[in-house]
């Protein structure tokens, strides 16, 4: 049976390959009708459950689907260990659009625009290029509850910071593919586009695209999950997550930004003077204590390991400080190796809880020396009052304020952002 499926798959590939490569008379309609009608019954996954492992039935941690949209899944940071997010728990955000069910044999990546040699690659061809594996976080520009409807009710770190995750990605550096196509004089930006139905597209400066962007087909030792872009996605390290389109099908090179909808409206920050601040893609230094964190319960007095995650779009995390007294005093946390650029960094801080009320904070400093601000500091800098954060309709991106968790005498842990 498996053999038969393999053969039919190969025939389909040859047929479609011939049409796509031959083309001359074929219009867009012909290509569309010939493409990828893989029957749902064509499921090649092994039926033997031993063949692809499952976790213990006692383990229950899971992503948190946003309601009512099914396209936002927050990662359970409260249960995170180390710096790698399991692929099954990796956060997912797509703007109202589900993961396409792509047959990799039919997937193509087009590189065109201001290049000497426009090229189309099959997945097999992309995998023949020299590969790299790198550990990078992704985070939504809006990875904060301060700009969301439920800002008054967020209780757990999954609700406050769950729109970030970190994985080892494997693929080919975008610079290799762009050099293969040959950049023309005046080329200065790219736009990358997905295959999902609204075909999400963002422009990235060429200086970043040629530096460390990668076209990834692997995540944590296996192929990308469908909701992470299977079979191919872009990774632009340290930038807002939206710069890394999933289900990547097209990269166009141009002389300037293409001004797609997200970059010229949704991801613009609005200032009190009426100005619109745009193209601010690098995420600021950020950190959060994941244990103990909101909704958890202390297990009695005595030794407690405070641990959490720090990250920055400015590069590597240089320092994380922890306060257990609401910010009156700060001490350096231990940073767990490896400390990588544009990757989550695990920090740990040994503490002894005396049973009294305590407020736990973490503060990140990145390799550029930028320091994570408190909400009070940001409120002052912005010239607004505390009520502004609760009432504004502006979608404020890049909120990276220090997150306070209050430990009560009863040992419950609560979100204390509005008390800070």
């Amino acid at each position: 049976m498996k053999q038969i499926l393999k053969q039919s798959g190969r025939r389909r590939f040859l047929k479609d390959g011939a049409i796509v490569a031959g083309l001359a008379a074929a219009g867009a309609g012909a290509i569309r009708s010939a493409s990828g009608q893989t029957p749902a019954s064509d499921d090649l996954r092994p039926k033997d459950t031993r063949a692809y492992g499952e976790r213990s039935r006692f383990e229950t941690t899971a992503r948190l689907p946003d309601s009512p949209s099914a396209y936002l899944l927050r990662a359970p940071l409260q249960d995170s260990m180390g710096i790698i997010t399991a692929s099954s728990l990796y956060m997912m955000r797509a703007h109202g659009h589900r993961a396409p069910d792509i047959d990799p044999r039919q997937h193509r990546l087009l590189i065109h625009g201001m290049v000497d040699r426009p090229l189309i690659f099959t997945m097999d061809e992309i995998k023949r290029f020299p590969s790299v594996s790198r550990i990078h976080f992704l985070a939504c520009a809006g990875n904060s509850y301060l700009n969301e409807d439920d800002r008054k009710n967020a209780k757990t770190v999954q609700q406050t910071h769950g729109k970030t995750s970190c994985a080892e990605w494997t693929g080919v550096l975008l610079s290799v593919l762009l050099k293969e196509a040959g950049l023309q004089k005046g080329a200065n930006w790219i736009v990358a586009e997905g295959s999902e139905w609204a075909k999400w597209a963002r422009s990235t400066p060429l200086v970043k695209a040629m530096d460390d962007a990668m076209v990834a087909y692997g995540q944590n030792g296996e192929a990308l999950r469908p909701e992470q872009g299977y079979p191919l996605r872009l990774i632009v390290p340290g930038f807002e997550g939206g710069f890394s389109p999933k289900w990547l099908r097209r990269i166009q090179v141009g002389s300037g930004p293409f001004m797609t909808r997200p970059e010229s409206s949704r991801y613009v920050n609005h200032r009190p003077d009426g100005r619109e601040q745009w193209f601010n893609p690098e995420l600021e230094p950020n950190s959060v204590i994941t244990r103990p964190s909101g909704g958890q319960q202390m297990h009695g007095r005595g030794f407690v390991e405070i641990t959490g995650l720090a990250w920055s779009g400015g590069g590597a995390v240089r320092r994380v400080e922890v306060s257990t007294d609401a910010g009156k005093t700060w001490k350096d946390a231990q940073l767990q190796d490896p400390i990588l650029r544009f990757a989550h960094t695990r920090f740990r801080f040994p503490w002894s809880w005396n049973g009294e009320e305590a407020v736990l904070l973490s503060r990140c400093t990145d390799e550029r020396g930028e320091v994570q601000p408190s909400l009070a500091e940001l409120t002052q800098l912005w010239g607004v009052n505390r009520e502004y954060w609760l009432s504004t309709n502006n979608a404020i991106q890049h909120i990276n304020v220090i997150q306070p968790w209050k430990v009560t005498r009863e040992g419950s842990v609560q979100n204390a952002i509005w008390e800070s």
């Binding site: 290509i31 749902a40 099914a70 023949r128 997905g194 609204a198 909701e227 797609t260 409206s265 502006n394």
Partner: protein, 197 residues
Amino acid sequence: MALALNAACVAALAQTNTYNLGHPPSDEEIRAMDVSPSPDGKGLPPGSGTAKQGAQIFAQKCARCHGTTGAETGLMREKTPEALKFRPYATTIWDSINRTMPPSVEDIPQKGALPLLDKNNVAGAARRGPLTADEVYALTAFLLYTRVGVIKENDVIDAQSLPKIQMPNRKNFVPLDPTEWKPGQNPGGLRHIQPRK
């Protein structure tokens, strides 16, 4: 035609390519994708439309989800930073309509508990939206006329006229020209960015 193209490219590859992988796309293969227009109009296809024509198309194909004017729902609401009148470029409105509209009513993304995998979209690499270029120009004209107020009802919008439209909020974007981006150009991020009051 295809053979000649291939032969020419093979010759070019032999001189400059390192890995000799991939093949040069045909015009049809590129046309099957949603090529992104630049704000200067480069990449816009032939075609044209007026707001008057766009009103009819909107009523037929768009109002079912977007309401009679488009201001009733979602991303085109008046009171969000995403409102059309805040947009800096008219070409963005064309591109948004062209790339995001669903092929059929059945394909409209639903709110709620749908499976994560979209089994109807099995071949993203070559699927296009349902609207012709003329329809997209007409709908763009309709929105520019009714929602931004920068053109007249019978103005013809096409690849030449669309990029010439001056959007009223364009002058408020900082930096005015974002083309020359450099790492670290916004140190501190939010420390330097303040909200609209």
